[in-house]
Symmetry: C2
Subunit: 248 residues, 2 copies
DNA sequence: CCTTGGATTTGATCTTGATCAAGGTAAGGT
DNA sequence: ACCTTACCTTGATCAAGATCAAATCCAAGG
């Protein structure tokens, strides 16, 4: 939910459209100038690991384009994705030196980076930035907790439908679930990545997608392009309240 | 993990031992005085709902004693606990008016409350409080994400062992997993609450606890009092790395 | 055009944990 | 002491999803 809220927030700015929206919604001019000085861009190839869990991390930043995934792996190889980073999402942990999780580029990802130390210094002085960052973190926490409900209590079918709903909303920039029928979008994740996100196997992902297709709830062109002829019908499969969580 | 980190943080203070540690680790004297003026205490009975999801919430605060649970319920009654609030944990969401989840007292809970508006006002001025709150929120986010791994990928046995480990650590104030054998503690949660936290049924919780008992990994006196004769052996059942996540 | 390898789909079977159904246990009330 | 009630344990059965094992698809390269 909160991810969407973020995407739909204030309008963007020329030089770094995403960063401005995400971190600096309420920045003063001089703060923006400072941030501009310390920013840099970097692009990562699909599948590339941006940060390894346990690494010392020297930067914070925002996703500009692409999709990155936060994930954890157990010794025996079981993997769980614990967060999706979409454009405008913040990456990094002010006040913490080591990354708690892997950050992996799901497709080609561009980050807008700030050196960590000066950013933290600015954070210590600017109430506008730190309070904005607190809000964003609280939103992430809410999103994580909604995902806990999905992981702990939803069926495989509900999990898939929930993920498709989120991706569809993101791509279509829908404000309300019911706002538009016939949504089309591309899956930014492989079946395996979806499985790791949903806490199921890739076979289960494939079977559930096939089932939704067979029932006409979604249509597929190729493996990755999805059309949802009736969004409400997909929503009905998520197990969520019909209001789409707009209250939060 | 982070919950433990919090508990093991700086020493406490006379008038409101918990709050000082949690929110005001780096407060100035005058900020403490302000907080003292606006604080009040309230006690809730076991099972009582402190906040309903969707409610307008007028306070923030800290847990002083007892255990409270954050939880979500689906229309058909499926329930998932999405956070445990132990003494010193922060409750509430500065900058947000409505509660996203239910908050329920698992046993008798005492809260130290601050009126939300003046607290937020202080937050807007005090870099020390807002940065501390950001850190605490990031810790909660890490804890939520570790729980996602548990919910998505661990077996029932690993889930139970993980929960027991966390509760044992909390109660025994262990610094390291291996620091002490023969840990004893009381379960603050019913079987049903544990089930809702772990994303399984209460029967599964009961069976797995019985299995661990049968194998001598834990001992039970009554339903609630647990003894762990060899902590490392319990840890081995959690599926986690042996280091116990001390790096984060 | 053909080959190749990764990604995906599909099928058959198995396992874990859910569900359904009794019993057991202990604290509190009468 | 006896009953009530809430909570917990245990057993039998079932089903969702995991696992194992082929096919199939398709884009990239030769």
């Amino acid at each position: 939910m909160s991810v969407q809220a973020n995407l739909l927030a204030e309008s963007s700015c020329e030089s770094c459209p995403i960063r401005y929206r995400a971190v600096c919604a309420r920045c003063e001019e001089d703060e923006l100038a400072l941030l501009d000085q310390m920013k840099s861009y970097k692009t990562y190839a699909p599948g590339q690991t941006i940060v390894w869990a346990g690494d010392k991390v020297q930067f914070v930043g925002s996703v500009v384009t692409g999709v990155a995934a936060l994930s954890q792996t157990m010794e025996d190889g079981r993997r769980q994705m614990v967060g999706l980073l979409l454009p405008s999402d913040f990456v990094g942990r002010p006040g913490r030196d080591y990354a708690p999780f892997d950050v992996v580029a799901a497709n080609e990802v561009t980050l807008c980076k700030f050196a960590k130390a000066p950013f933290e210094e600015l954070l210590g002085r600017s109430a506008s930035i730190s309070s904005r960052l607190l809000e964003m973190t609280l939103d992430e926490l809410d999103a994580a907790r909604e995902w806990m409900l999905l992981l702990g209590r939803k069926t495989a079918r509900e999990k898939i439908a929930s993920l498709l709903t989120i991706l569809a909303r993101r791509d279509a920039h829908l404000r309300l679930a019911s706002a538009s029928s016939n949504v089309r979008f591309d899956l930014p994740l492989s079946r395996e990545a979806m499985a790791d996100y949903l806490g199921v196997t890739l076979e289960t992902v494939s079977r559930q997608i096939s089932a939704l297709k067979r029932e006409g709830i979604i249509e597929l062109e190729g493996k990755r392009h999805v059309t949802v002829p009736d969004f409400a019908r997909l929503m009905n499969e998520t197990g969520d309240d019909s209001d789409g969580g707009m209250l939060t």
